[in-house]
């Protein structure tokens, strides 16, 4: 059907973004293709150095999964900021990623952790890394005839891994003015062996900063260095300003929150002997 009708069809999962957009007449799809009853799209499975999550898995199910929280803790940390109980009970992980709001939490986690998204169509199956999946605001690499099938989340093998997610929003549950996520791994001596961090709400897509994260590796992640890296991040950004926050305020938040999540991730990693 997607091949035949293309852009006239919208896949509907939880409907927590699509139905409001339809109510506001921002989109008027001729067809809705409902995937809610497809159980094959609902799963959480560990294996292959990571965890695979079916696109139609509810956010509330992901939030409550303790095994997943141990392997990919940033998902639960981020979901605490996503909407409300009522929306997480319907909202799906795939829906949030495919919607690709640049200020949304789950796309940011996918970007920070280098998730891989599997797309299917009658032409076949292909995998796209998060950095190539998000191509612009509300825009992804999904072709009109494709369906997001599953998302692979890498699990870091290092015992001393810590992660953190935070954001500033007008009200809890709203989209973030700026959101930040970080994950770091330390060796026995407390030196960083691996680091990643990213920001949402400050660009056309969620952003990660592998070049700057590399500056953290090999160091004990002392506060001064973290602060320096966070300031360097803010200098790279050109966020937009709007009714809720000026560009300058978003830039300020970017530095503050980047520093905050890297330090929180570090402290969590340090607490793991």
């Amino acid at each position: 059907m997607l091949r035949r009708e293309g852009d006239a069809v919208k896949i509907i999962a939880g409907g927590q973004s699509l139905v409001p957009m339809m109510a506001m007449r921002l989109v008027r799809p001729a067809w809705l293709l409902d995937v809610n009853e497809i159980d094959a799209l609902k799963f959480i499975e560990a294996g292959g150095g990571g965890v695979r999550i079916g696109a139609c898995t509810r956010q509330a199910v992901i939030e409550r999964d303790h095994g997943l929280a141990a392997r990919v803790p940033m998902l639960r940390q981020a979901l605490a900021w996503v909407g409300h109980v009522q929306t997480r009970n319907r909202g799906t992980i795939g829906g949030s990623l495919a919607h690709a709001d640049p200020a949304a939490e789950l796309p940011l986690v996918a970007r920070v952790l280098d998730a891989t998204l599997t797309l299917r169509s009658t032409r076949g199956t292909r995998s796209v890394d998060a950095d190539e999946f998000f191509t612009g605001p509300m825009t992804t690499a999904i072709a009109p005839d494709e369906c997001l099938h599953e998302i692979h989340w890498p699990v870091w093998p290092e015992q001393r891994t810590g992660s953190a997610f935070t954001e500033i929003s007008v009200r809890h549950g709203d989209f973030a003015l700026v959101a930040a996520g970080a994950q770091v791994a330390l060796d026995d001596a407390g030196r960083c062996v691996r680091a990643t961090f990213g920001l949402g709400g400050v660009g056309q897509t969620p952003l990660a900063f592998p070049g700057l994260a590399a500056r953290l590796v090999g160091t004990p992640l002392e506060d001064a260095l973290v602060q320096e890296v966070a300031s360097a991040v803010a200098a790279e950004l050109e966020p937009g300003g709007d009714l809720h926050a000026t560009a300058a305020y978003r830039k300020h938040l970017a530095a503050v929150l980047a520093s905050r999540v890297i330090r929180a991730a570090r402290d969590q990693a340090r607490s793991r002997a």
């Binding site: 939880g14 409907g15 927590q16 139905v19 109980v85 009522q86 929306t87 009970n89 549950g173």
Partner: protein, 163 residues
């Protein structure tokens, strides 16, 4: 497209209901206009205000963001389903009256559903848990404090009844 009707079969407050509906009829409109269960309110119609909250397979959701056809084969409970079997108010509803947890009443059905869902899983909720549970429901009258008081009071009553 809109003149095609699709058969649905939904358990509403313990009773199986069958109907034929257009594909784009929202669940809340079906509940209110077809079943005349007008306790569930329609506020913003785009998933912000929480007034249309219902229990869907036991979990709170927004019924303005679900089409009636999508609910077919599922279980729905509306605010009308909260009262005791004899029709008298539930402990939670009673606590709402006692604590003056409603003024205009527009948000109340959604608040009751959200709060009842919390009480179903959490017998001794903290104020933080209560505020989190009703965080997706807007109230423009009470300033929320009386609602939090009411939910806390209901939890206490239910714990006493359980003794």
């Amino acid at each position: 497209m809109t003149d095609i009707l699709y058969p649905i079969s939904i358990e509403v407050n313990g009773v199986m209901r069958e109907a034929h509906v257009p594909a784009r009829l929202s669940l809340v409109d079906w509940l209110r206009e077809e079943l005349r269960l007008t306790g569930t309110h329609v506020g913003c119609e785009h998933g912000i205000c929480g007034a249309c909250s219902i229990l869907f397979d036991g979990e709170p959701i927004r019924s303005c963001l679900l089409y009636a056809v999508q609910a077919s084969g599922h279980r729905v409970m509306t605010v009308e389903g909260l009262a005791k079997a004899d029709g008298s108010p539930s402990a939670l509803q009673d606590s709402f009256c006692e604590a003056h947890a409603l003024q205009c009443g527009y948000c109340t059905p959604g608040m009751l559903i959200a709060a009842q869902s919390l009480l179903n899983t959490t017998s001794h909720p903290t104020d933080v848990q209560i505020r989190d549970a009703i965080g997706g429901n807007l109230c423009r009258c009470t300033g929320y404090q009386q609602i939090v008081d009411a939910v806390r009071d209901a939890a206490r009553r239910l714990a006493e009844e359980a003794k």
